[in-house]
């Protein structure tokens, strides 16, 4: 996209995903310019959700890479099979050395100290593999065994998402759902919680106020204490968006947010998308299989079919594209 001076917020290069013999996504190049609403459409089974899940850090792509805000976040390492070794080998070596030293040690006290030290080292090795601090990631990348960012890493980097089949925390209240969304932006530790430190109180109070604001923003004011599963279907969709917004994303991924809605609900929803862009200044990536929904709101539309990108452009261009018509109508004619 040349019409934007700012670099695109998300760039996918040659992304493919194979499930066994099935090619779900086939070397797709794709980017999302900042501040726009971009749509990804295609008939059912075109690989949209798979592609989406790759971007969100859920699946590792078979080929290709994804950069987000200029950082390469997702790529399959050359030796990604070796990743579990990073979990097992350092702890095993430490445990072995500890055991050998302990059995060879002359006094019980020395043996006890060795065992304690090796246990501490053991745990640090595990914690390293879990927490994945930057230097550790750089080391793994250099060795070629880097595995893609996990979903939570993507959220921290600024990506929020919703799900095609609503995945709320059903037994939690609407407010708590939104507060879970804020998890990655909160700083209080378990120690704060146990000691009920001032930070804990302040943060909980802030989070509560923010949660109410987000719920009001999506139109759920007054339903803070409703249990999520008791909300109406449309409200559940809104709650999912509020939950995603609460993580303060730069890019919002919406997976078929109007699925199963009637025309008037759909219209309300598309208004909400517009407000998210204009009032919050977010970039939105929208997935739909229904072309009509995206035509009004999208700055750009990309069409996938059978895992491949078949068209890209404005709504009008895409609508006129013969391959798109074939993909949709051909399908419709057969069905």
């Amino acid at each position: 996209m040349t019409d934007n001076a700012k670099p695109p917020i998300l760039v996918a290069k040659g992304v493919s995903k194979h499930f066994g013999g099935l090619v779900a996504v086939n070397s797709v190049d794709f980017d999302v310019p900042q501040g726009k609403i971009v749509s990804l459409i295609g008939p059912n089974g075109a690989g949209k959700t798979t592609f989406f899940n790759i971007i969100a850090g859920l699946y590792e792509p078979t080929h290709g890479s994804v950069s987000f805000t200029g950082v390469e976040m997702i790529a399959r390492g050359r030796r990604s099979w070796a990743e579990p070794l990073a979990w097992v080998v350092p702890p095993l070596i430490i445990a072995l050395i500890g055991l050998i030293v302990a059995t060879a040690a002359s006094s019980t006290a020395l043996a006890a100290v060795t065992i304690l030290v090796s246990l501490i080292l053991l745990i640090s090795a595990f914690l390293l593999a879990i927490a994945r601090p930057p230097f550790y990631l750089r080391l793994l990348t250099r060795l070629g065994i880097f595995r893609s960012a996990r979903p939570n890493d993507m959220v921290v980097a600024g990506l929020g998402r919703t799900f095609q089949n609503i995945r709320l925390f059903k037994t939690m209240t609407a407010r708590d759902n939104v507060m879970v969304g804020m998890h990655s932006r909160m700083r209080s530790t378990p120690v704060d919680a146990v000691l009920r430190s001032r930070r804990h109180y302040r943060e909980e109070k802030d989070a509560d106020a923010k949660a109410r604001r987000w719920l009001a923003f999506v139109g759920l004011a007054g339903k803070e204490n409703e249990v999520a599963r008791n909300l109406a279907y449309g409200d559940q969709r809104r709650l999912e968006i509020a939950r995603a917004l609460a993580s303060e994303p730069k890019l919002l991924l919406l997976d078929e947010p109007t699925a199963g809605m009637n025309p008037s609900e759909t219209a309300e929803m598309t208004t909400l998308f517009g407000r998210i862009r204009t009032e919050l200044g977010l970039t939105i990536l929208l997935i739909e299989h229904d072309m009509r929904v995206v035509m009004g709101v999208s700055d750009r539309v990309t069409v996938l079919d059978h895992g491949e990108k078949i068209a890209e452009g404005t709504s009008q261009e895409v609508r006129a594209n013969p391959r798109v018509i074939e993909a949709y109508l051909g399908k419709a004619a057969r069905a």
Binding site: L122, F126, P151, N152, T171, H183, S184, A193, S247
Partner: protein, 399 residues
């Protein structure tokens, strides 16, 4: 099994209801007052007619101190199973690790004499260390794979304790564990074996602290993350929760509570040996959590108390009770003469225990005192409109 009348359902629900409604910093006060009340009233049971016949007050209080250990274990496992939704079938391993830590820290076996109060912390830390070591490579597994790994771990720890006899004295176990020292407080220097009262009060204190910590954790960012993971791990990860470290924390906290229990138990008994930590301990504690109502700290504590007393008093007294009824020997067509009084009920205690587990689960699959959230989960499956309506009205009332 009837000696829990102090904590009859309605009374307990009132207590938990009050806890729920009182603001955060009153919670700890409620726990203290509640436990102090329970702690003061329980020993009175030994004066109430049917129970007074089962043993002296000292026997009862000693039994309650042991029950306290299981309450501690159950609320710890509740963090793992009830909050975070991880199935841990080898929980006794951490209990054993706590107990052996005390045996190494304060016994004639190693010659060390570390004070009990320091060892309490040490036991918790060592158990947490083992919890993290086991959890780190395995917590990425799905629920039931985790179950078998923990079950295996629960079996390995006693096996190691049994076979590494240079370090653990094998089947003989480590004896001569030091008694805790109260440094002259209340005129006690060393906790006596014959007098259960100091033990009882100590375990109540430990439980109170554990309750406060767990309640505060439950009502925090971490607690929400645990519930989110239990409900939908994938969605939780997609909301920015580091699922591995959050689950690991649940595992470590559960393990450390178990370690605390282990240290106390070892000190009270004065002996540790591998047979104390077999799978039935893990299963029993799991049953306590499920029966009490997963996710509800007070409920789980009551579940632990009920099951412990069924196992240690109820089944023993049943035989004596039936004998006391003097049921005449009667004839049954196929079996011949049946002498109920002659049955040794102690022999059948596991049968009765098994029957009790099955019956209680069939009657109340969600546990005696389900947490509000668990009730929702259950009803979600039942999918009955009237119940859903009831839930809604409850939620509105709670608002």
């Amino acid at each position: 099994m009837t000696d829990t009348r102090r904590q009859s359902p309605s009374g307990l629900r009132a207590v938990t209801g009050r806890i729920g409604s009182i603001a955060g910093h009153h919670q700890s006060l409620t726990i203290l007052v509640g436990l102090a009340l329970v702690g003061a009233l329980l020993p009175l049971i030994s004066a109430v007619p049917p129970f007074s016949g089962f043993g002296t007050q000292k026997d009862w209080v000693g039994g309650f101190a042991d029950a306290g250990v299981f309450v501690l274990l159950a609320v710890g496992l509740n963090v793992v199973v009830g909050f975070a939704g991880l199935l841990d079938l080898g929980y006794a391993a951490f209990f054993a690790i706590g107990a052996y830590t005390y045996a190494y820290g304060a016994s004639t076996f190693t010659g060390l004499q570390t004070p009990f109060w320091i060892m309490l912390v040490a036991g918790a830390v060592v158990a947490a260390v083992f919890g993290i070591t086991l959890g780190a490579p395995t917590l990425r597994l799905r629920g039931d794979y985790l179950a078998i790994v923990t079950l295996g771990f629960g079996e390995i720890v006693p096996v190691v304790a049994l076979n590494a006899d240079t370090y653990t004295r094998g089947t003989n176990g480590i004896v001569g564990l030091a008694q805790p020292n109260a440094y002259g407080l209340f005129g006690i220097t060393s906790f006596p074996i014959t007098n259960p009262w100091p033990w009882y009060i100590t375990v109540l204190g430990i439980i109170a602290i554990a309750f406060m910590i767990l309640y505060r954790l439950e009502d925090s960012r971490l607690g929400r993350a645990w519930v989110a993971i239990r409900e939908d791990e994938l969605a939780a990860a997609s909301m920015g929760i580091n699922t591995i470290s959050t689950k690991l924390l649940a595992f470590a906290i559960g393990a450390s509570t178990s370690g605390l229990g282990g240290v106390f138990y070892a000190a009270k008994l004065g002996v540790v040996d591998p047979t104390q930590f077999h799978f039935d301990v893990s299963f029993t504690v799991l049953a306590m959590v499920v029966l009490g109502g997963m996710g509800n700290i007070w409920g789980v504590a009551v579940g632990a108390f009920v099951i412990f007393e069924i196992q240690h008093q109820g089944l023993k007294q049943l035989g004596a009770f039936i004998q006391s009824l003097n049921v005449p020997v009667f004839q049954v067509p196929v079996l011949g003469s049946v002498d109920l009084g002659g049955i040794n009920f102690l022999k059948f205690q596991f049968l009765l225990y098994g029957l009790a587990l099955v019956a209680m689960m069939l009657l109340r699959p969600e546990g005696l005192f389900p947490s509000r959230q668990r009730r929702h989960e259950l009803h979600e499956v039942a999918e009955e409109s009237e119940e859903a309506a009831e839930d809604t009205s409850e939620a509105v009332k709670g608002a």
